[in-house]
């Protein structure tokens, strides 16, 4: 199987096998638009997000390593002390979580005591958390600030690195897609939004852009030599880059998902809700969305933005005209010529230069001789 994967890798590399990522961009964009609209609409229909206690304020108790996981015990304990109805969940085997509204200091201690007796555990096994109502807001503000600073810094960095704003803008628009869709998935599934999850979101941005950097770097490499050949169009070259990095993209997301998945597994099954689960869940969702966004949104978006440059248009027109002349009627999406039987083949030689072209040839010949003197 690995061998097949490798073989596919080689064919993707040469362009013999090509998936039309760029050519089909209209389809991807429509799908993306639908997803974005859905992501925006879902929170309204579902009445917002399932906000964690950090955003609503309140107290939370965790009883760990208990044999008795009866939910009623926890509800009674809180009822007795403060007369509130508590949300009690058996979050993992042997772990019970009790969430209440804000309790005073003494009440907190009393509830902890009651839980201890109710579940028959030692004081060592009851943990408590109290969160003021503005805490979550403060965290969100900080995160929003972080988000803005990060996006600005990376946009500048990418523009500087690739020496073009188009790549930077395409990457950032794709990033917006990642954020909106991930948030939408959170709204749709009712996953709990906690500060840890929000930190996870920020990490996703870093991951998604990291992935984009690698693919864009390949695109840059492919497009740099665009004008020196007349076999492939701009679009085909960009598509080739995406296909060439496809194996890497798959490997990368698998390798990225495996450890995140193991935290998610341990975090949600054995440890119950908490830092580990929240961070890994948002990463898990984000890595998948981020990888897909690079291939289906960011790269096609870049191609779209550049495709109508005058230089690129004329180059494309020239390439297509030459193909007519050379009798190439079919190419793969990555610009490999196909023969009548649909088998990959070589581009036929460029047509002989027209009569006046001979002069040009002389020019070129002269230039080659002159070149060393110029430097």
């Amino acid at each position: 199987m690995a061998a097949n994967f490798a073989k596919a890798g080689n064919q993707l590399y040469t362009g013999e096998r090509a998936y039309p990522f760029i050519q089909r961009s209209n389809l991807w964009f429509i799908l993306a638009a639908v997803l974005i609209l859905a992501s925006i609409a879902v929170p309204f229909f579902r009445g917002g997000f399932n906000l964690g206690i950090e955003f609503t304020g309140g107290s939370e108790f965790t009883v760990s390593q208990t044999e008795n996981t009866d939910i009623a015990v926890g509800q009674d304990a809180v009822e007795e002390v403060s007369g509130q109805e508590a949300i009690v969940t058996n979050v993992a085997p042997g772990t019970v979580r009790v969430q209440t509204e804000e309790l005073s200091d003494t009440e907190t201690l009393e509830v902890a005591d009651a839980l201890q007796q109710g579940y028959g555990v030692s004081a060592e096994q009851v943990s408590s958390t109290f969160i003021g109502p503005v805490w979550g807001e403060q965290i969100s503000e900080q995160m929003l600030l972080g988000l803005i600073v990060f996006v600005v810094l990376v946009a500048l960095y990418m523009a500087f690195y690739f020496r073009t704003w188009t790549m930077s803008i395409a990457a950032m628009l794709g990033l917006a897609f990642v954020v909106i869709v991930t948030v939408g998935i959170y709204a749709a599934t009712g996953f709990e939004v906690t500060p840890s999850a929000i930190i996870g979101f920020l990490t996703i941005l870093s991951y998604a852009l990291y992935d984009t950097m690698v693919v864009f770097d390949k695109i840059r490499e492919n497009v740099d030599g665009l004008r020196s050949q007349l076999d492939q169009t701009f679009t085909e070259r960009v598509n080739l880059a995406v296909n060439q990095t496809l194996v890497r993209s798959i490997n990368t997301s698998v390798v990225g998902i495996l450890p995140v998945g193991s935290i998610l597994f341990i975090g949600s099954l054995l440890l119950g809700a908490g830092t580990l689960r929240d961070i890994s869940l948002s990463l898990f969702v984000g890595i998948i969305v981020g990888t897909l966004a690079t291939i289906f949104i960011q790269a096609p978006l870049y191609a779209r933005m550049r495709r109508n440059d005058t230089a690129i248009r004329s180059h494309t027109a020239e390439v297509l005209a030459l193909r007519e002349q050379r009798g190439v009627h079919a190419v793969t999406s990555s610009g490999m010529a196909l023969d009548a039987a649909g088998q990959p083949t070589v581009f036929p030689p460029l047509p002989e230069p027209e009569p006046e072209g001979e002069l040009e040839d002389d020019d070129e010949y002269q230039v080659i001789i002159q070149a060393p003197h110029e430097h």
């Binding site: 965290i139 500060p195 490499e221 020196s228 193991s262 230039v367």
Partner: protein, 636 residues
């Protein structure tokens, strides 16, 4: 340098890494030996059990708090917590607006109140002052390295006062009249006098003592720095009347600097009046009643002598200050103008049991993640996957030591979120290898020899790896700066591992590949080497001396590499060298055109594989310059 072979270079680099690793390990071993560090990383409260509180400062009237004042508040909390006997408390500011307090165990109600309460500043006139002998004794016991002279002087002083019985209120006389002003000795009731006699100076002030002190009553307190204890009158000026405070060089009347540091206080209108009254009164009194004490949080921080009646509300305190002392006093005074109390924003109590469990499961998740990634690497890259695994192990050791070292030098503690960051980083680290290996494969597909492919693949992968890791580092730094609470640990480990990853790829994985590329097993593309024909997915021929080539067919296979986009665009990498034996001899017009595309036609492949990266880059640049010229000419 340029003449060294890649293999020799690789060995040099590997030795460099070994030195770095040994240096880190040695430093850590030395610190452990010394008892100052430990091999295992320090654990944060969520893994060790304990209480973490995030506090936000509260000020009356919604005034803004600056960083200095917050720092001062943290100082006050630290003193209080230390004073209450809690050890290993960690108090830090975060994000410039929050204070995070970490305590082992569960703090009692008193400690919680101590942490939250504001610290008041007061100016009180001194009624009596005395050196606390018990304090000096303790000092003597503690500081054995006191100079002989000082020790003798101290002992002499101590000998003079050897009445160590508890003074009783009955031993003292009743005041003769009602006190008239703040400096009136009639404030001293027998009870107060007895308290003063029995008072022992310490930095601990219990909550009851704090609650007892009233601004209208006399008070016994001391300066825990010097051990001077004071009997003080009622509050003359509260700290809230301070508008600002600054420090600088003292100016003489002629406007010249005296070379001494001075702290200036600016009182507001009310404070100016009160202070003017007090100083006018104190000026005429005998020592020590001409002193007034500046108190912060129940302790005397300074007790200057009045030298003039200050009517303009701008007193200047001079003394044998160093610059730091002057700054410290001035900061305390500024803090005193704005008493900050704290509200608990969030409080987390983690029992030791839960902490232990989280640590255990966190590590388990890490191991599972590592095994899965290692398994996938072996599956995808066969024996080459071993390079990934060894690299991950070295990265792991390096990260572990770096965290242990940071625990020693900066008190860094590993939290659960930090462990999550480390685990997530496994994937990101492994990705550098994937980028690199895929590039090598691409170069092999171009028909290069393995050593050549390693060099060429590296020079391109390097760029991509650096560029993409930079994004990770930017993210980690931003996250670290804005994050509050335990999530900071996540950003920290994420950034740390990104940097270690870069170091590793440069100093370990690449040199290792350079050496591995010379092993016949890999170079010849043996089965399971990860580079075999089948595993590359390309029809390659073993061409001897570690070289692959495509089959020379008259059909499509070999020409694919030619006009396939890959060759054209690999373009920049001398993908198809004219002198390469792999090149088909077909001299069609299309080839004639392509010949111009190839950048370095004048160098044969054997020469090329001997060249260093730098040389190749130069050759390539030169060729592409020439090519550019061609194109511009062509465009005319």
């Amino acid at each position: 340098m340029a003449t060294r072979t890649p293999a020799a270079h690789a060995r040099g680099v590997l030795i460099g890494l070994l030195v770095l690793l040994l240096g880190m390990g040695g430093l850590l071993a030395f610190a452990v030996q010394d008892g100052r560090a430990q091999w295992a990383p320090l654990l944060a409260l969520d893994l060790e059990g304990g209480t973490q509180m995030v506090l936000s400062p509260q000020v009356d009237g919604g005034e803004e708090i600056d960083e200095e004042q917050l720092q001062q508040a943290v100082e006050v909390i630290r003193q209080r917590v230390d004073g209450s006997g809690v050890t290993e408390a960690e108090i830090t500011t975060q994000g410039g607006e929050n204070v995070v307090v970490g305590l082992p165990g569960t703090p009692d109600a008193e400690t919680r109140e101590l942490i939250q309460a504001s610290a008041d500043m007061e100016f009180r006139p001194v009624l009596r002052a005395e050196q606390d002998m018990a304090f000096l004794e303790e000092l003597l016991a503690e500081e054995e390295d006191l100079s002989e002279e000082d020790a003798e002087a101290l002992e002499e002083q101590l000998d003079g006062t050897e009445e160590e019985e508890q003074a009783q209120p009955e031993d003292f006389e009743e005041p003769t009249a009602e006190p008239e002003n703040g400096s009136d000795p009639n404030w001293i009731t027998p009870q107060v006098a007895a308290d003063f006699a029995n008072f022992e100076c310490s930095s601990e002030i219990s909550l009851e003592d704090r609650a007892e002190s009233s601004p209208d009553e006399p008070l016994v307190s001391c300066d825990p720095e010097s051990g001077m204890k004071y009997l003080l009158g009622p509050v003359a000026v509260p700290g809230t009347n301070i508008e600002d405070s600054s420090f600088g060089m003292e100016q003489s009347g002629a406007g010249q600097s005296t070379g001494r540091w001075a702290v200036t206080i600016n009182f507001d209108a009310e404070g100016t009046e009160a202070f003017s009254d007090t100083t006018t009164r104190l000026l005429g009194l005998e020592a020590p009643r001409n002193q007034f004490a500046i108190m912060l949080d129940g302790q005397v921080i300074s007790a200057p002598t009045t030298q003039a009646a200050i009517v303009d509300g701008r007193p200047q305190i001079t003394g044998d200050f160093t610059e730091d002392e002057a700054r410290g006093l001035s900061e305390q005074l500024r803090y005193g103008s704005l008493p900050i109390s704290f509200e608990i924003e969030s409080e987390q109590q983690i029992s030791a049991t839960l902490g232990e469990e989280q640590l255990r499961l966190g590590l388990l998740a890490g191991i599972i993640g590592l095994v899965l990634v290692a398994g996938y690497a072996l599956f995808q890259y066969r024996t080459l996957g071993l390079v990934t695994i060894v690299s991950l192990v070295v990265a792991g050791v390096m990260t572990w030591w770096a965290i242990a070292l940071l625990g020693w030098s900066d008190g860094y503690r590993l939290s659960l979120a930090g462990i999550a960051g480390l685990i997530v980083a496994i994937g990101l680290t492994a990705d550098s290898f994937i980028v690199y290996f895929e590039r090598i494969k691409d170069e092999l597909r171009e028909g290069r020899s393995l050593p050549g492919a390693v060099e060429a693949g590296w020079s391109r992968a390097r760029r991509t790896i650096l560029a993409s890791k930079a994004v990770n580092v930017i993210a980690a730094v931003v996250l670290y700066l804005v994050a509050v609470g335990n999530v900071r640990g996540f950003a920290f480990t994420l950034g740390l591992t990104a940097i270690i990853d870069v170091i590793l790829v440069f100093l370990f994985t690449h040199p290792l590949m350079q050496l591995v590329a010379r092993r016949k097993f890999f170079a010849a593309g043996k089965k399971f080497s990860g580079l075999s024909e089948k595993e590359l997915g390309v029809d390659v021929l073993y061409r001897g001396s570690g070289r692959f080539g495509r089959r020379q067919q008259s059909g499509s296979a070999e020409t694919l590499s030619q006009s396939a986009p890959a060759a054209a665009l690999a373009g920049t990498s001398a993908g198809s060298l004219p002198s390469s034996p792999l090149r088909p001899s077909a001299g069609a017009a299309g080839d004639a055109r392509e010949d111009r595309v190839q950048e370095v036609p004048e160098i044969s492949e054997s020469e090329w594989s001997q060249m260093t990266i730098a040389e190749r880059r130069r050759a390539r640049a030169a060729a592409s310059r020439q090519q550019d010229t061609d194109e511009t000419e062509e465009g005319r």
